[in-house]
């Protein structure tokens, strides 16, 4: 699944327009504890979180994730978005809840990260 396809599935809009959306998404994850995500993140991951500060971008970038998805219509401030554009991390925002997003992602074929 590409980020573009995931964006449609998640009924999301991009907060970082201009970044390529043709990258592959390899797995999905949901968590708001950054150390937890740091321990389990993987390249190509789509990460659902309500956290919106600068460190979200740092964690996503260190793991070379495919994208960050903010649920419940949550938005991100301009400073972390600017950082996300610099690092090439796509940030999406969806009106759906984290629960609904994960359900759609899993049903759409995105597995959990390998243990």
């Amino acid at each position: 699944m590409t980020v573009q396809e995931l964006m449609a599935l998640a009924q999301a809009r991009e907060l970082t327009p201009g970044l390529a959306l043709d990258g592959g998404v390899t797995c999905g994850y949901v968590c708001d504890l950054l150390s937890w995500v740091m321990a389990r993140g993987q390249a190509g991951m789509a990460w659902v979180t309500v956290q919106t500060h600068m460190n979200v971008v740092a964690v996503a970038s260190l793991h070379e994730m495919a994208c960050v998805i903010l649920p419940d219509g949550i938005l991100m401030d301009e400073a972390p978005l600017e950082k996300a554009r610099e690092e090439g991390i796509v940030v999406l925002s969806s009106q759906l809840s984290a629960y609904e997003l994960c359900g759609l992602m899993y049903a759409g074929g995105l597995a959990a990260p390998a243990r």
Partner: protein, 138 residues
């Protein structure tokens, strides 16, 4: 042989991850394998965040030779009262600000130890904490 040192300020959440990103870039340029790169990146980020969240400020170092990658940190205090307790997963002394940002899961030190080939920590209350972790270059 590569050496680098980074100053890390107490509470510098906005620049958190910059030292780790630079370390990752340097290791990528050296052609370090993705598996090792991931282990070092996780550990360096936890090391960096620990200084930002828990210490009065400190430094972080990178040293790479043919066989080993070494990450080290040294802070200016306040030191850890019970290192064994601090090493247990889920234990954290992070304040409310850190927790509201998703830190303070009590995973930092265990994450470092899990990812490293060798992990050493010494701490003196009132003085500071030093951590040295090494990774075999694969």
């Amino acid at each position: 042989m590569v050496h680098a040192e980074y100053d890390i300020q107490k509470g510098a959440y906005n620049s958190a991850g910059e030292a780790s990103a630079d370390i990752k870039r340097k290791l990528q340029q050296l052609g370090i394998s993705p598996v090792t790169l991931r282990r070092v990146a996780v550990s360096s980020y936890e090391m960096e965040m620990n200084i930002i969240i828990h210490s009065l400020g400190g430094t972080m170092g990178l040293c790479v030779d043919k066989d080993w990658i070494t990450l080290s940190s040294k802070d200016q205090g306040p030191g850890i009262e019970d290192v064994e307790l601090a090493m247990s997963e889920g234990y954290s002394t992070a304040d409310d600000d850190a927790r509201s940002m998703g830190f303070g899961a009590g995973m930092g030190l265990p994450n470092m130890k899990r990812n490293a080939d060798d992990f050493r920590i010494t701490s003196q209350l009132g003085e500071g904490t030093q951590i040295t972790i090494t990774f075999k270059v694969m």
